[in-house]
């Protein structure tokens, strides 16, 4: 694994910055145009969640390039309020912000691997991976 690059999420515009950098990395790894859009959209949802619910955090990218596997790992970290009911946030249509409630279940469908860890009042880490097919 190469050293990771991270984008701090503090302002609304950082959401755009994160998805642009993510798309650039995905393109370099060799993802096709549809997967680039999937990855950029997933990053956008993760970054917006940080901005909306935790105020600040980080989106980090790792390039995975081994003999068997090539892919991108996107990790969202924040030290916000955490998620009290993970089952609930993974339901389509559940929202507390007046959005479409498509965010996290959507990210899970857009990416190949999805791992959510959250501790109330401590923060949330969401690690997702997409493999080049």
């Amino acid at each position: 694994m190469k050293p990771q690059s991270c984008v701090n999420i503090k302002k609304e515009w950082d959401i755009v910055g994160a998805r642009q950098l993510g798309r650039e990395i995905a393109k370099k790894i060799g993802f096709g145009i549809v997967d680039q859009a999937r990855i950029a959209t997933a990053i956008s949802e993760l970054a917006r969640n940080i901005y909306l619910y935790a105020e600040q955090g980080q989106i980090c990218f790792d390039v995975i390039d081994t003999m068997e596997h090539k892919g991108i790992c996107v990790t969202a970290n924040d030290s916000g309020p955490g998620i009290s009911d993970i089952g609930q946030v993974m339901q389509d249509g559940y929202t507390t912000s007046g959005g479409l409630g498509a965010g996290l279940p959507g990210v899970k469908r857009l990416m190949d691997e999805f791992d959510l860890k959250s501790v109330e009042n401590k923060g949330t880490q969401i690690k997702t991976t997409k493999w080049v097919r």
């Binding site: 755009v16 680039q36 859009a37 999937r38 959209t41 959507g106 469908r109 857009l110």
Partner: protein
């Protein structure tokens, strides 16, 4: 940054060419509604040919602006949604069922003509 809205006879034309952040999207919503109000336009085409991704927030803003314009009495058609964007939206679980769409600007204008009977 503001998205330009052009007037063409009794229609409004919008081509979104830049990466949209949340603020620009909300600003656009307000700008479009006030332009409909001022110009008395009966139809709007929003062309998304250059848009490379639509996330749930932008989808909500676009869906809402269609409904809001409809309330005011103007018909909105979204055109030029890229294959990758369509695939991603469905993956996200966003179907935008009540939103009129067309393949491109030309067909969007034809659709408006037909629906508005002009």
């Amino acid at each position: 940054m503001r998205i330009p809205i052009l007037k063409l006879h009794h229609y409004l034309l919008v081509s979104i060419q830049t990466e949209i952040d949340d603020h620009t999207a909300i600003q656009f919503q307000e700008d479009l509604l006030s332009k409909i109000h001022k110009s008395g336009s009966s139809g709007v085409v929003i062309d998304l040919t250059s848009v490379e991704m639509i996330d749930s927030f932008i989808a909500k803003v676009l869906g809402d602006v269609v409904t809001m314009s409809d309330l005011m009495g103007a018909k909105v058609v979204l055109t030029g949604i890229q294959p990758a964007v369509a695939i991603t939206l469905i993956d996200l679980g966003i179907h935008m069922k009540n939103v009129p769409t067309a393949l491109n600007l030309e067909q969007g204008l034809t659709k408006l003509h037909q629906e508005l009977g002009e």
